[in-house]
Symmetry: C2
Subunit: 240 residues, 2 copies
């Protein structure tokens, strides 16, 4: 598992690193993680999951972001986790608002097994592409308490992948890259701005208005606002 964003540094040249599958939600984090992959020379295969999230606006953002990143291919796949219930992010119960950002309990926006499902699907595509690398924009610092955003989870998934796939059995490598893992939201934003990203394309709110405007009060809005404030940058989404 590779969590250091500089691990793959050197001279970034397009096409020099081979192909990578990037999980792209339309949010700020996955956009930045994918852009880091591109800056290191990977050709990007972007995978967006329609998992029953409330915020279909995220999907429009994923398309805009994929286009901005000039990905080689963008796949959208349905896997409706809302059938299981158990998360405010997929309906049934309201998204919590005005929660302290340092709360330690796992919030109701946690979607059971989401990142395991997402990484398994990314692994499936990577195996077919004969790609060794998967990028995911998870983050352990501003992580809202989700168990499947922790380094030990990612390391365990990478071990699993070596046993789960024909590629692994045949001795092929498989790496999960989480370049944002140890970064603060402000560091993520500064990194993205330095790479020239337009965060106005992204969408973070868990519970937007029908026209897409962020609520400003959910965990995701609060983390985003705090990140831009700490980075001393203006959020282009709010000035539109």
């Amino acid at each position: 598992m590779v969590s250091d964003p500089s691990t793959n540094s050197g001279s970034p040249r397009a096409g020099s690193r081979g192909d990578a599958v990037v999980l792209l939600s339309g949010g700020l984090d996955s956009y930045t993680a994918a852009a880091i992959a591109r800056s290191h020379g990977y050709r990007l295969f972007a995978l967006t999951l329609r998992y029953g999230q409330r915020h279909a606006h995220e999907l429009r953002s994923a398309r805009a972001v994929a286009e901005a990143l000039q990905v080689a291919r963008h796949l959208e796949l349905d896997v409706d986790l809302s059938v299981f219930g158990g998360s405010s992010l997929t309906g049934g119960q309201p998204v919590p608002k005005d929660r302290p950002l340092d709360a330690r309990e796992i919030p109701s926006t946690y979607v059971p097994a989401r990142n395991t499902v997402f990484l398994a699907l990314a692994m499936a595509w990577a195996e077919v592409l004969a790609a060794e690398d998967v990028f995911i924009g998870v983050n352990v610092l501003d992580y809202s308490g989700y168990p499947d955003c922790r380094p030990e989870f990612l390391a365990a998934f990478e071990r699993l992948a070596s046993l789960a796939t024909a590629r692994g059995v045949q001795g092929g490598a498989f790496r999960i890259h989480a370049p944002l893992l140890q970064m603060t939201k402000a560091e993520i934003i500064r990194t993205g701005l330095a790479l020239g990203l337009d965060y106005g394309l992204t969408h973070s709110c868990y519970d937007p208005a029908p026209d897409g405007r962020p609520c400003g009060r959910c965990d995701s809005c609060a983390l985003r606002a705090a990140g831009f404030a700490q980075a001393r940058a203006a959020d282009p989404l709010l000035s539109r």
Copy 2:
């Protein structure tokens, strides 16, 4: 990971073991694995994945089997792995026929990452149900060479689950049961017949005729025929 079918034995009483998620394909193996779970007193929550397989007949069988098992709930979920390609089971290339059953290479019917995706989805539902147990009908002896049917894969997934879920983080148990893992196809069939199962409800063929009749020549048909022959039993599917 629990691979011994007798591990959970004792006095099988309905409702005495709590809830279990069972992966139900409509094939002979998953029907038997689910019936073993039921015989040990679990209340069954059956999950069938429509993953883009050629054989939609499998899905009809899954419904019939779920009804025969009197499951508490049967969910069918779309996760179209055919978008990635890479398997003859999801189209694009022909299903191999008349392959020797002792061939060691991984056949083209292997669907990249399928069991990882399936177990991740079963884990998602189990977490919402607060169930500790997932049953999967994989088998390492007559396994057609799939990497994600091996004991080391299942053990790695169980370790991953303890890190991936809120339940795991809070110290809750999570067990993957593979009661057929070390059984021959004949032993599986004898076990199912002893439990009173009607294998005429099931469907195994990778490449059936439009009317559902098995081809008789794919790996799955060949393994099934050899299993019934070794068990000295008639396959009710062929006498219909």
